[in-house]
Symmetry: C2
Subunit: 330 residues, 2 copies
């Protein structure tokens, strides 16, 4: 393993000079020495030891991103956005996946704190469990107390900068659009009530219907993934319009209906939430609420790095996109 000292020795200069040449400094180094050092480094194949640099500088150039599940395109898009932004800042990215285990999330914050990462991004829904949230928050506070920055994509429950998708409002807007098509009997594939995102979307949808004076929809809980949508779709009864709280679930629902010979949108209309790019070619094309996922990820990183005194909370509106999976009732 080649060290800076080896390089300095080979170039016949001091450690200080070698460091200034190779790893950046405000100080100038004469052209000849500079060349000697660079040549020596090249010949020896020197690579700075970042651990040592981090230790000496007291700051790393790494950020951490914690997501629930990378294979879920929702998180992949958010992570990608954040990673592009990070790359633009010359930062490296450490990614942790919790597989939806809140304990893992807490553990990651602790680990990333230990890594002294510059910033931590918590991407994904909070859960409705104040005990867990409190512990996460404590861990986060500890991290921030020692100079770390944090931001979150999801619900503003952690006292950090937050990019908050307008789940409630987006679902409400969707409900109004669907009601505008003449639907009155709705069902909601609500996902797990534990997940704030699922809960908010469901609540937004339900409350908008109530405001319109429409009957309460049937709310079917289940998992937050494709299979959750598939299963919940078995129980939508005589609803003419079904809202799945995310696109992946909606796709599961479409599959379920297809298998049972129920036509979408002729027999039942289906809508999702998120507008996942990978699912844009579904047949029938999915009505949904579009969220600018990549931008949200990037924005979260910006917020974290900007580090205002007071945590910023940014609402991100969703845009209702009507596609072929819904039809108007005359």
């Amino acid at each position: 393993m080649v060290t800076l000292e080896d390089v300095a020795k080979q170039a016949g200069v001091s450690l200080a000079t070698a460091s200034r040449v190779l790893n950046g400094s405000t100080r100038q180094v004469g052209a000849d020495l500079r060349a000697r050092v660079e040549r020596a480094a090249d010949e020896l194949g020197y690579r700075a030891n970042i651990a040592a640099q981090t230790l000496a500088r007291g700051a790393s150039n790494v950020i951490g991103i914690v997501v629930h599940d990378l294979t879920d395109p929702y998180f992949a898009a958010l992570a990608d956005g954040a990673m592009r932004a990070a790359a633009g800042e010359g930062l490296l990215v450490m990614v942790g996946t919790t597989h939806r285990d809140p304990e893992q999330e807490i553990a990651y914050v602790a680990t990333l704190n230990a890594q002294r990462v510059r910033a931590v991004l918590l991407v994904g829904s909070r859960v409705a469990d104040s005990e867990v949230t409190e512990r996460l928050r404590a861990e986060l506070d500890r991290y921030r107390a020692s100079g770390g920055r944090a931001a979150c994509v999801g619900q503003d429950l952690l006292g950090v900068d937050t990019v908050a998708p307008a789940n409630h409002e987006g679902a409400a807007a969707l409900a109004r659009s669907l009601a505008g098509l003449g639907h009155t009997r709705f069902a909601v594939l609500a996902g797990p009530p534990r997940l704030m995102t699922a809960r908010d979307r469901c609540a937004g949808f339900v409350s908008a219907l109530a405001e319109l004076g429409l009957p309460e929809p049937r709310v079917i809980e289940g998992r937050f993934d494709r299979d959750g949508g598939y299963q919940a779709a078995q129980e939508t009864g005589d609803a003419t319009c079904v809202f799945a709280v995310n696109d992946v679930m909606a796709v599961g629902a479409l599959a379920a209906y297809r298998e049972r010979g129920i036509r979408v949108p002729d027999d039942v209309s289906v809508a999702g939430f998120d507008d996942i790019a990978t699912l844009r070619d579904q047949v029938p094309a999915l009505t949904t609420v579009r969220l600018p996922l990549q931008d949200m990820g990037a924005r979260a990183l910006e917020l974290a790095l900007a580090a205002e005194e007071e945590p910023t909370v940014e609402q991100v509106p969703g845009e209702v996109v009507l596609r072929e999976s819904v039809r108007a009732l005359r």
Copy 2:
């Protein structure tokens, strides 16, 4: 920022003892001192500085994964597999995305080397550019020379442990299956010839057809993504069966046909490659070659960590999965 020294002082013990208690050691520490240290650490909210640990230990517990594009479910699945395996080993993961720029790939290897990560996983197709490959290989050699381990998912071109999907054979098997259905006029949505993966799949398909004595397929180059498939599908002429070299392209092709009123599989059969989970609910269901992506990612990590003397190359067979997007010609 609370350091180990603070903890030691507060507990009234030496640095050595505090270290042994908190950060693991072969040495025993007496129960009372151990308790004192733990209490002090807890009170102060101590988090070990990993940069310092890495420096002192001379080894980090981080691995690096370099992928082309996280939003492509193919890479997401591979990365997820590798990350699960890493988590099982207690390793943290640093993810870099190249967005298909080979220079970025080289740069990441250099950076990860600087980070002294335990292992580097290069996930994704090599490119048919020996100059670039050579430079990447040189960077990798430099990394390995200083004790790093590396593995690759893709083509065995780097002299490191490799998990190599049987692209050629898989595509050939698919070709035979499709020919068995009676098809004779084929087209291949071949992707970019630069990409070895695209090239191998295309070549495997073409050569299998040749062995069967069937006419040469029309080969249409293009991008490796959904839009590439969409565009290439415009030029498939009178082919009765179209092979897209990956599922995402196949989905693009399905969309193109749908728009033009060409029915799949009635008018044209379509097949892809990879068996991407997110795309399993496509209509019509996509015929494809299944690759155990998550396992491959996990396996690559295993290989990298195992670190035999001679690089291992593991072929991973693909399994042809016939679904509704193809039909038999009578």
